[in-house]
Symmetry: C2
Subunit: 386 residues, 2 copies
Amino acid sequence: MRDVAIIGIGQTPVGEHWELSLRDLGYRALRSALEDACVEAPQMLFVGNMLSGALSHQENLGALIGDYAGHRGIESFKVEAACASGAAAVRMASLAVGGGACDVAVALGVEKMTDGRGDEATAALAMAADADYESSQGLSFVAINALLMQRYMHEFGYRHVDFAPFAVTAHLNASTNANAMFRSRITAEQFEASRPVASPINLLDASGICDGAAAVVIVPADLARSTSPYPLVRIAASSSAIDSVALHDRRDPLVLQAAADSAWRAYSHAGIGPEDIDFFELHDAFTIMAALSLEACGLAPHGRGVALANEGVLGRQGRIPISTLGGLKARGHPVGATGVYQIVETVQQLRGAAGENQIPGARFGLAQNIGGSGANVITHILERAS
Amino acid sequence: MRDVAIIGIGQTPVGEHWELSLRDLGYRALRSALEDACVEAPQMLFVGNMLSGALSHQENLGALIGDYAGHRGIESFKVEAACASGAAAVRMASLAVGGGACDVAVALGVEKMTDGRGDEATAALAMAADADYESSQGLSFVAINALLMQRYMHEFGYRHVDFAPFAVTAHLNASTNANAMFRSRITAEQFEASRPVASPINLLDASGICDGAAAVVIVPADLARSTSPYPLVRIAASSSAIDSVALHDRRDPLVLQAAADSAWRAYSHAGIGPEDIDFFELHDAFTIMAALSLEACGLAPHGRGVALANEGVLGRQGRIPISTLGGLKARGHPVGATGVYQIVETVQQLRGAAGENQIPGARFGLAQNIGGSGANVITHILERAS
């Protein structure tokens, strides 16, 4: 397959966009990525989205947004992998260009969660879990993560406050990202004192309900080299794996096997190891997921993800910076868009365009997007090529 | 890109499968396709589905069905393009194998429409239309097709009964297909006398609410040649295009531009023309769609699709056999699965395994799957290679 690169990025601020429809949001990110890439139109458009059917009564987003953006006649599909839909779209666009089906593909992630009334968003998010064996028992998606966190604390002897560094770091990083939703810094005390959502998950363990869209333009690396004014950012690896959707079907619920499978395949494709990663855009939808993701990717031993966080290495000056522009926790988690935000931010870092949030001299960025409680996981490694 | 072929096909009967869940249906078709191909597991699985969120409160189908079938660790995503989701999955699988991302991909289409209560399925199907500008005005999906049919009749001077040959042919062909839902033959008189759904669409113009799943195994053609006992069926062309979702945004609503775009690209890729097609699995969700699809694919001039049907050329002995195993009208239209059923049936024909429904000596089969009222259209040309 051909080597591929990202030559354009676009995003809307994450927030509550009451004045914008799903298609408006998608259009803005798409337009902005195409402009950044100096490209008129994509040949293929992959739209990552999870909730448009449930919350906006709209499917067929490939045609809807492709047409709204003025691109009739192109190929376009919606790709869904629950909260990993965004990275799934990136994976598809990367496949399409890498495999030679086209030269210019766009991966767009878009989600409009505020279209839901009352607790419709909570009910819709439960579709990421197993409807027949989990949701039907009354388990919401946050409750499933609470079970995981409770077990993790029990198994490895952590207190709730030990998870604070994930949220504190994310909020600190978001405070200097104009596109982030929650830009206030928080302390470990505020984290601990925030109200419970589903014990032991407190409000500040969890990402919020929000709207947003992000897009990337993917082309063959050779084309990028000859046309793009930016430092070349290539997709060194793109990999995914599935596990059972229901927690109870896993050998060990505290091991994100699909995250490990996809991460280690990605390392192998990129020819590097965890020690080579300069920063990690991880899936901190809940603090427990951040810990498990660090472990699955070989950045902390089993059961030591939280201990690592407390060593102070996750900040921008640390050994393994995470959520460098705020992560799911504080930049925000518009679910089907999140995986594309992660890639956009990884490109910002590798271009040296992350402003106050810049990780100096970063060469390899790792981004991992998790669908469900670990059911479908997509890992990308991006590299600033010299 | 590499030449690809289909070495395994599987399907469940189309019907009301009250005793089977979404994952059961998907599993059965997937298992049966893998057995047909003598393959243990796919490396990538693309699941075409439109309505699982709305009707079964379940997303994340890639992981759900992949895991249920025993394939943890593989890559799997859901692909959505409204009623063209099935062919979109085939397109993705074809891209993945053709581009060299993997050697064995499965496209699975699955839909469980009977999970909906009351008119939930009708409301869910409206998600294929434009929620902000069509559905919000109270237009159901059948009403949109009724507008098209009314305009077509007005513009070209047809009576309702002139559309009968589409439904009569489909039911006749379904009568000898054990997997078809509606196996009773009908007459033009019965067609004309059937009760109105949304005038001028009568019950026998329209496909019904149903459940079903179908799957195909796609591998490089070289691998197929050396391992498969079946006549080689290659994907000579796989192409798609989008148009506006809303009818009122089209230059001429009676021209399915995306269908024409994708068909003519497909002819060009395959190096053939409409005159080389031996049979056509078209998207007869409504009789008007069958007429417009024939016209878009160059098999009838503009406004002459219905006239062609009345020349008696669409039957199995005719010049352009359509819906050879019953089509959407009579085999059934489990929406997200339909595009894969079309491909499965095309393979049956090209293998010479269509039994009483066999088109003798068929070499080129055309299959066209339409999402929305023409918004996203995927065309495949399959060829029995010598």
